[in-house]
């Protein structure tokens, strides 16, 4: 047994988090910043934060993840990190030559109270930032919120730093991408292009964290939302925020700053969320949904109908981020499955409200968010009454093995399997990918564990 100390007996835990279903703000800021073209994320804190975040992102994407650090010492921790940040900016613009540096803070620089506004504006005044180059920043104290909050803060900083309104409005819809894979973003852009909708996606990690191997290493890959596109978001006629937790703040800021109206939607995972996304995009971009997309949807529904006997009533435990858990849970329910345990370390009322609504007909469902809503607790629930399937990040493999439960990897980080940044989970095709993974997990498990006489050629 790997998790041999986990028992069904829950205690009233107030202080100890065990096996978290979340991590800290700065990694979210770093990930989001990679979605700006020509951007080098910069971690204002001690060197370990940057090393940990780069390692975690590299393991997940299996791609280069570049970021710099202020390399705090004890001295800077006591006297402030201003000198470190200014020195860092000078080094970065001389040696690594990015278009933009996106600075985020850490618990260290937040605790000592470094004022980024003041430090950076002084650096600009002192000529440390070359002409035409940009330094943007956001505050990401690790002791508030989670990695999701950090992502949201970085995306909001993009609006704050770049979005500009001019008298000339454009018939463009902004797509603010929540935390998802580059493959998911690529699929969403494909759907928009099939509809002939004009869009700007930001942040956009396609062609940044899924680059080809051709012998050329490019520190700033072709992808990422360009500065001119980020500026132009202020002239778009509407904004769709995909994933409320990650994008709502940016949407509100953009409305306040540039009067661009917005709607926040679920990340289009599963057919219902995809339906809503397409209808909203159709309405706001004023383009019809073509028959080819109705066919894509139809093929997915066909697949679900064909396989429904393996899905109906199956109990599922899942963990991860609210922006993906909400539509994923809805998708499972829409296939007559029973998501019974759902945890996320990310706090927020919306999660509870949406789960209440989605799980209305599943009275046995337990869900929890925020402090001590962790994988240890979820595992304890599983010990109390088992499930048929686990869906979540790589940390689930220990539970899956101990309890002998089929397991589908989803979320962040996935460090032990391939394909998550290759095959999308969004749109109808993405939903089909999810479904096929679930089915294969069930059927492989059945083939391996059922009595010999029950092994059948056809299933």
């Amino acid at each position: 047994m790997l998790l041999r100390h986990t028992t069904a007996l829950e205690i009233d835990r107030k202080a100890l988090t065990i096996n978290p279903a979340k991590t800290c703000q700065p990694i979210g800021a770093m990930y989001a910043a990679l979605g700006i073209h020509g951007c080098l994320p910069h971690s204002h804190g001690s060197q370990g934060c940057c090393a940990y975040h780069r390692s975690a992102l590299s393991r997940h994407f299996r791609e280069p993840v570049m970021a710099a650090t202020s390399s705090f010492s004890e001295g800077s921790s006591v006297f402030g990190g201003s000198a470190n940040l200014v020195a860092a900016l000078e080094t970065i613009f001389t040696v690594y030559k990015p278009e933009v540096v996106a600075v985020h803070t850490t618990c260290l620089s937040e605790t000592i109270g470094d004022d980024l506004t003041q430090i950076i504006s002084k650096a600009v005044d002192d000529g440390v930032v070359p002409e035409g180059k940009q330094v943007i920043y956001c505050n990401t104290p690790s002791y508030v919120g989670t990695h999701v909050t950090g992502y949201s803060n970085q995306v909001a900083a993009m609006v704050k730093s770049f979005s500009t309104t001019t008298p000339k409005k454009r018939n463009v819809v902004n797509l603010v991408a929540g935390w998802m894979e580059p493959s998911d973003m690529r699929e969403i852009k494909r759907l928009a292009s099939v509809m002939e909708a004009r869009t700007i996606m930001f942040p956009d990690m396609t062609d940044v964290l899924d680059t080809p191997l051709n012998g050329q290493y490019n520190m700033y890959p072709d992808g990422g939302t360009t500065i001119s596109d980020l500026i132009a978001t202020g002239d778009s006629k509407f904004t769709l925020g995909l994933g409320q937790y990650c994008t709502e703040d940016a949407c509100i800021k953009l409305e306040n700053k540039c009067r661009v109206k917005f709607e926040t939607l679920d990340i289009p995972i599963g057919f219902k969320a995809t339906d809503r996304f397409l209808m909203s995009l159709s309405r706001h971009a004023n383009v019809p949904i073509p028959d080819s997309l109705s066919d894509e949807r139809g093929r997915l529904i066909d697949l679900i109908a064909d396989s429904s006997k393996y899905l109906y009533g199956k109990r599922v435990a899942l963990w991860g981020d609210p922006d993906t858990l909400i539509p994923l849970t809805e998708f499972l329910v829409s296939m007559d499955m029973r998501p019974v345990y759902i945890v996320t370390g990310t706090p927020g009322k919306l999660f509870t409200e949406r789960m209440q609504e989605i799980l209305n007909n599943i009275p046995e469902a337990k869900y929890m968010c925020g402090d001590t809503a962790d994988m240890f607790r979820m595992h304890q629930w599983i010990k109390q009454e088992g499930v048929d399937l686990l869906i979540g990040n790589t940390y689930g493999k220990y539970i899956a093995r101990d309890e002998n439960i089929p397991f589908v990897r989803f979320g962040f980080p996935i460090a032990d399997r391939y394909g998550h940044n290759y095959f999308p989970k969004t749109g109808y095709n993405g939903a089909a990918n999810i479904l096929i993974q679930l089915l294969n997990a069930f059927l492989d498990h059945k083939d391996r564990t059922c009595p010999e006489e029950k092994v059948e050629w056809q299933m």
Binding site: M1, H5, Y52, A67, L85, T91
Partner: protein
């Protein structure tokens, strides 16, 4: 032909070229960390100094060195990270320190992450109460023998005293060994400060607490600085068993609390990773009279040499014969594997930038494969890891080193017992053994090779662009950068999920893995056929 070319590679132009891109102050500082090696007149290298802000570095932090590296691999301690959630999350199962409990009943907390998950109110009002409560909850749930507390950056700044909490909770929960580490990330210039802090903590809180002498064999040895990545310590355990050597403790791969508590009952310490554990080796010597020697179980020849050291030290003919027998037996398969792979690897080149000893140790394996190590350096080494321990008295103590508590170790009043007399030690030294010493990486690297401390991203790109090595060894952050350039990268922190690489069995695994890299054809497919010139230039003539 290939071999000749590689042998002639002149690396002397590198330094000037790379420094030209840096701002003046940066160039001045970096120039002292980039040296052309001469093993006969070892040049001074700058190491263990702060990384310049903005430089993209391989290095991590003090917490990573303390919790992640040294204490992480012990399975029966509940390691609670006191801080916001990130640090505990990132050090959760991310190093491949494997562990093998003896039974299903034995404790194993390695698959768990424990954190106080500090929130803003804890930052404002202090986190000690939450930490105490977390310890109570850990006790209620798991009843562990030991609980360790690891401080993250904000802890030191807000004035939480983890040592006081540990003392108080020890009173509240009698029978549980509770101890804290002030390993805030900012304390040192790299992970290395964390190793030192961990070493001090091991000595103060664990080592020497159990005098019971147990085991199957009379030759009692500690292996220090072996973290069981990919199962390396398992290989060493099996090898020792074959040779009839009692492995009293491994620090800290596949270890338990009891091994630490018992380590002082050994009669000899072998030091694998000098950087991360030399302090404990020294303290065991000083306090209990246990001499140590540098050892290396990476590489078949190095393994044989290290085993022979044990035989020589104990001077027991039966042991010496048994070790020789094991070496002879094991070398049969090693030779077969090496002879098979050698034609594919001979003459190829490698570069190694990793850790505090691996960049040295793995050159043994590349030597065995007929490959040349063109350039190497450490992520968090000190000058003694490069130039040898003889330079220690001349190393200037700077502000960053002064942050780390120096503990004074004295001879244990009752248990100090020199394992060898001065005379015996001199005799062994005269016969070629070295005690309490390490000659460093530079002595083993050829003249004209490049030694670079704390390699930056820019310097790495330049190394590859200029000298095009056949394999580059580093870690996960470098892995995909280097591979995008069309050069295979072998991770020497996590072995690319391979290994074990220690001992004879490990050497064979490594030969195979390097063969796989040398023979992998995918990097030849980086261009689409229509992108090649020949294809474009071809034309049909119609008439």
């Amino acid at each position: 032909m290939e071999k000749k070319l590689k042998d002639e590679i002149d690396l002397s132009a590198y330094k000037d070229e790379v420094l030209a891109a840096y701002p003046k102050k940066v160039a001045k500082k970096r120039s002292k960390s980039i040296v052309l090696n001469d093993p006969d007149a070892i040049p001074q290298i700058q190491a263990n100094v702060r990384t310049i802000p903005g430089i993209i570095t391989q290095r991590g932090c003090t917490y990573a060195g303390c919790k992640g590296v040294v204490l992480g691999p012990t399975r029966d301690i509940v390691n609670i990270t006191h801080g916001p959630i990130g640090c505990g999350f990132y050090s959760w199962l991310t190093r491949r320190n494997q562990t093998r409990p003896d039974s299903l009943e034995e404790e194993n907390f390695i698959p768990y992450a424990f954190s106080t998950d500090m929130q803003d109110s804890n930052i404002v009002f202090g986190g000690e109460e939450k930490l105490k409560q977390a310890i109570r909850e850990a006790y209620e749930l798991f009843h562990p023998k030991g609980i360790a507390i690891f401080s993250t950056c904000p802890v030191g700044l807000i004035g939480d005293d983890v040592h006081r909490v540990a003392r108080q909770m020890k009173e509240e929960l009698p029978g549980v060994n509770i101890f804290g580490f002030s390993c805030e990330g900012y304390r040192g210039v790299s992970q290395s400060a964390g190793h030192h802090i961990a070493n001090n903590g091991l000595f103060k809180n664990l080592i020497g607490r159990n005098d019971k002498v147990e085991g199957n064999y009379k030759f009692r040895v500690n292996v220090l600085g072996e973290y069981n990545i990919g199962g390396d310590a398992f290989v060493i355990e099996e090898l020792f068993d074959k040779c009839g050597i009692e492995l009293v403790s491994t620090m800290s791969g596949n270890s338990t609390l009891k091994q630490f508590e018992n380590a002082h009952t050994a009669d000899f310490s072998l030091v694998m990773c000098h950087r991360s554990i030399n302090y404990v080796a020294e303290m065991l010597e000083k306090s209990f009279g246990i001499p140590w020697s540098k050892a290396n179980f990476i590489g078949a020849d190095a393994t044989a040499k290290s085993l022979r050291k044990v035989g020589q030290y104990f001077g027991d003919q039966e042991l010496i014969d048994r070790i020789e027998k094991v070496i002879t037996e094991e070398m049969v398969a090693v030779k077969v594997a090496r002879d098979r792979v050698l034609p594919k690897t001979q003459g190829k080149t490698a570069m190694l930038f990793v850790g505090g000893s691996r960049a040295h140790h793995y050159q043994e394996l590349f030597d065995e494969l007929g490959m040349k190590s063109l350039s190497a350096g450490y992520e968090f080494g000190h000058r003694d890891d490069y130039e040898g321990r003889r330079v220690i008295p001349t190393i200037q103590i700077d502000a960053d080193s002064r942050n780390i508590e120096e503990i004074t170790v004295t001879q244990d009043a009752t248990r100090y017992a020199p394992r060898k007399t001065e005379e015996e030690l001199h005799k062994l030294e005269a016969d070629g053994m070295q005690f309490n010493g390490y000659d460093g990486l530079m002595k083993d690297m050829k003249a004209g090779t490049l030694v670079i401390d704390d390699l930056s991203h820019y310097e790495m790109e330049k190394l590859i662009a200029l000298y095009n090595p056949d394999v580059f060894c580093a870690g996960i952050k470098e892995k995909y950068v280097v591979q995008k350039m069309g050069i295979p990268l072998k991770q020497l922190h996590n072995y690319d999920s391979g290994g074990p690489y220690a001992g004879f069995e490990g050497a064979i695994n490594f030969y195979k893995d390097i063969e796989m890299i040398a023979c992998s054809t995918i990097f030849k497919q980086m261009k689409a056929p229509w992108e090649s010139e020949d294809f474009v230039e071809a034309e049909y003539v119609f008439n």
